[in-house]
Subunit: 302 residues, 2 copies
Amino acid sequence: MRMLPLLTALLLAAPATAAETPPPRTMQQVIADAKPGDWRALAPEDTLYLDLPGGRVVIELAPAFAPLHAGNIRTLVRQRYFDGLAILRVQDNFVTQWGDPDAEDAAKARSHGKALRRVAPEFTRAAAGLPFTRLPDGDVYAPEAGFSAGFPAGRDPASGQAWLAHCYGMVGAGRDNAPDSGSGAELYVVIGHAPRQLDRNIALVGRVVQGMELLAALPRGTGPLGFYEKPEQRLAIRSVRLAADLPEDQRLPLEALRTDTATFTTLVEARRNRRDDWYLAPAGKIELCNVPLPVRRRPDPA
Amino acid sequence: MRMLPLLTALLLAAPATAAETPPPRTMQQVIADAKPGDWRALAPEDTLYLDLPGGRVVIELAPAFAPLHAGNIRTLVRQRYFDGLAILRVQDNFVTQWGDPDAEDAAKARSHGKALRRVAPEFTRAAAGLPFTRLPDGDVYAPEAGFSAGFPAGRDPASGQAWLAHCYGMVGAGRDNAPDSGSGAELYVVIGHAPRQLDRNIALVGRVVQGMELLAALPRGTGPLGFYEKPEQRLAIRSVRLAADLPEDQRLPLEALRTDTATFTTLVEARRNRRDDWYLAPAGKIELCNVPLPVRRRPDPA
């Protein structure tokens, strides 16, 4: 089947070689060879289960970058704020967005309860003290690009600031023109080419680590900005739960590959220069949002 | 509604200003102010109508970069090769791919008729003689990035080569490991973050100029590489036609904004620095695949 080879690096081992030095490994081999310590369990306090009619989306929050938004989202979730709300907007090559259809109607809007209605901007933070695995190939938007605690990020040595990057699957808190008008009650996820112009303009709060296809393959809205024009077009949210609030046996045992390990650096190199036979001209470079961030189910103890 | 401001530049005029110099214009204003000569009609010989149950996808071929593939695709289309074939693969954040489900089965594969089964690689071409509107902000993958005759492209002064870039909506010809194993009989379109590592490794043949959502919002395949596992999951292709083969009154009067005009350069600047009130920190930069390529219906003569 044509094009199958396109992603062979994901499926096949590299061809055997007689060289004395070990052959370069594909991403799949690097992941297979990862040590248990190369993986980190998702923190239950930072893991959201967004349950839709089609299945479950798992979101990891990024409290290192947006602690106030993460806290407010936890408060909303624990009040069952999102249960029964809906996906309101799907704009092709941009975002899928969910929240309260009546948010702007004071009479009908769902109460935020103990949660804040306005959260201070968390668009950038001090880079000091943040782990940062820098990529070697530069970035159009940020002076430095890399990964911090599993999330794609930008960094500026001149300002001493760091920020999360709007890569595919990143989740943010919608806001109006006022910088503090976002609260986490309306969230969006990037479903197209990275809209990096949003970086440093809005609070990213986490990323989808499982079930992204449930948000990316939805019918596009036909109204302005991809909003659904009729209420019946909206997809209802069954529930949003924090893993920490579920009994242990109901939590998904997910682990993410640590981005501060030699294994991750080797993986990046494997993607900068694809080793499988299909590639004739390995790029020799990689852009921030093309770096895979592997997530797996924790292996059962042998 | 929160997040509505996200794309205000697409909908609203910039706030009025008392400044003597004209205020910077939003993309929407730049497009509204474009002169008739800033637009080019799509050439009927280079325009494909891919008709799916959900509607029509319009693809513009790029014969300047892939003349042999474009010619072979025209031959296949004129033989009705694609009619009744199917969408075979939808891999999240990568590609949607269509062609003959039985392509690998000599007994059942549809004949290519007068079309070639193997087309010489057209992965790069000489940059000499190509128009090239270079972007000012650099690129991770290409020494130079810009636009040539309406398509996103990379260029390397050292090698004297140029090539089309794998941006969202770009269409390519699947191939196996052999460089000449593609023919245009199996095509893919980018539906996620630009997989630029494919640049210079496979022939891009054009881009989707209308109806992208019909290819991007399809259910993801659950087999390896996003192939559909059951034949009934595949979406049937009603027909593929070349605009040139239809009576004039059945052709869509589409025009694309020329990329070699001052208007386009102004549009790029409007996107590098968003002028609407929502943006607090305009990027001041733009990456190749984030530059919009406006297409419109030719205005009726007043």
